[in-house]
Symmetry: C2
Subunit: 357 residues, 2 copies
């Protein structure tokens, strides 16, 4: 018997990228006809079935949800998984977790592996590399083959599916307003590069809050951290970068950071420079993780309600899976109208602790 | 076509536990003949294949490793997964993660799901409920069907397989010795209930270190936390419990805690009671997570090297998978001798920070 071949092996054998194989097999017009034919013929010879998803959906329900997240060492994603699990368990589903490690190719490989008969549908958050490439064919191909996807947090308009997002924009406005109300005059923003949509939205919220209060956003007061590297390896670099930033901008009396690591590091640096928190500098973070709770002083933060996000996403997916059982077998085919999909926006809350007055 | 049935459904239909179904299908003698026959007949009728594992192993290699861990919101397990991933990626394997949520039944269900053709072998850490029940038939059945398992951290002697463990006993001895050398006279231990082997070993290490230094271990100075509840829901209870403990034992000048949450909470409580760290009380934790690094004062801790554990476990599993490809097809059958299995012990290190002198 011929061994089953994987996307990765096809890519290696034909010396093309995994993305090219994936696109050719889903019939994308981006790939030349010649390449498509070659890849399809090769896949056929080695018994690779690009439409295994549809086959498995016809024959059985796995009662399993596939979760695909960018990284595991991340409190926000952990709490989302916990939320998904709670609802899944209550409604008789199991979950299984795949990791993209922020890599486009790994995202494709994991989706292929999970979709191959192990799961009924996906709950996922897009990898940074995929967002940079803006290549979403693998999501659309999966949906077109009849497997529903619910996206959370890092979502894109280019894929039509149910989505659960945090109100990042208004969350930032709330945080920056709080700092303004507390008397801060020179509020710094510590954020990520713009290609991750949540970082962009939080930056926009910061600017909006300043404008609403007739303060002109100063580019000097915005520090964009390049977080495309492995988080663990850059902690020291992060500290140095923020220290430099504080030294150049000695007037900073408020900091809004788009995640808790940046916020806690900013507090550490401020203390090192002899600034008292919250007397000299007030700090607000985003994401209510263990660091925020246990930091000294404890961190005022914008809570994203990760568990609620997970619960909503699981309910959306299971509702759709069970509706497709009974109502309309055509529900997920290409003809689905955009308006059929639901976008749930989770409101954020400010949790006040010791890092603000 | 009849739908494929799952273990869970069989259990529900026949009104028996998942464990009973699982045991009956693997031919365990613990289950009466009548029950076994009933379950096997039912499973056969509904096309349930208990030996799917062996079938899938014959026909293909998935090049995927199944990881099964007790919980996701846990920095130690996250770093182990990171280690597994690094080695897996380098050696051409993918990983997929299942969660037992510390539940025996969920552990069985997840193993069944993953073993059903999705993966080539398991890397796992046993759930608390399984350890309490001391029921390990599902691990042995999986191994007997030809699928290798590597256990890490929470392991048991009753299952013959490769294991990677932390030297918890000597790690504790190092920590308590350090406190003694630093002048502590009344060293408290904050630990878990004894059924989790790592908690037991760390407690034994504490007692051993005291004895080696001719100090008699005082039962009063040992606080055992019941951590069978959900961690998030017990943080306040934990604080109260530790505060009570400090008030009863006003002489405490050193604390060794078996995890970082207990250690950080002990520091918080001590400060609240007006004690200075490290001047009045010195604290050492176990596990080098984000809390230890970012706590104020930062926490001296016993590092378990989670990533190294993951790397070792992945190498052991892949070595075994690839050896079974080429060397001996009988390698994993019942005839494997105990001595063929490898136990890797990862040494711990003390990372000194601000919570000790």
């Amino acid at each position: 018997m011929k061994r089953k071949i994987t996307l990765k092996q096809i890519a290696r054998e034909l010396d093309v990228s995994i993305s090219t194989v994936s696109k050719a097999l889903s019939g994308s017009k981006e790939i030349s006809e010649e390449t498509t034919q070659k890849i399809q013929a090769f896949a056929k010879f080695y018994n690779y079935k690009p439409n295994n998803i549809a086959l498995s959906l016809k024959n059985r329900k796995t009662k399993t949800i596939g979760i695909l997240i960018p990284e595991i060492v991340h409190h926000f994603f952990s709490t989302v998984i916990r939320g998904i699990e709670r609802v899944a368990n209550r409604r008789g589903y199991n979950v299984i977790v795949g990791l993209s490690n922020e890599s486009f190719a790994k995202e494709i490989i994991n989706m292929e592996m999970l979709a191959n008969g192990s799961i009924d549908g996906f709950i996922l958050s897009i990898s940074k590399e995929t967002l940079l490439k803006q290549d979403y064919h693998h999501f659309n191909a999966t949906i077109n083959q009849g497997m529903p996807i619910v996206m959370f947090d890092r979502v894109v308009n280019e894929v039509d599916c149910d989505k659960v997002i945090v109100d990042d924009f208004n969350g930032s406005i709330k945080a920056v307003k709080k700092l303004i109300e507390n008397g801060c005059k020179n509020i710094a923003l510590i954020t990520t590069m713009d290609y991750v949509s949540v970082g962009r939205l939080r930056t926009q919220g910061y600017i909006e809050a300043l404008e609403q209060n007739k303060i002109i956003a100063e580019p000097n007061l915005i520090l964009k951290i390049d977080d495309s590297l492995d988080v663990e390896n850059q902690i020291e670099g992060l500290e140095q970068e923020i220290e430099q930033f504080f030294k150049i901008n000695a007037n900073i009396d408020g900091v809004f950071a788009v995640n808790e690591l940046y916020a806690v590091t900013a507090m550490k640096v401020a203390r090192k420079l002899g600034l008292r928190i919250p007397d000299d500098v007030q700090v607000i973070g985003f994401t209510d993780g263990v660091l925020s709770k246990h930091a000294t002083p404890s961190l005022t933060t914008v809570s994203q309600h990760g568990q609620k996000i997970g619960e909503q996403a699981a309910n959306l997916l299971i509702d759709r899976l069970e509706a497709s059982d009974t109502e309309s077998p055509q529900y997920f085919k290409n003809g689905v109208r955009k308006s059929d999909f639901i976008k749930v926006v989770i409101e954020t809350d400010i949790i006040e602790r010791e890092s603000t007055k």
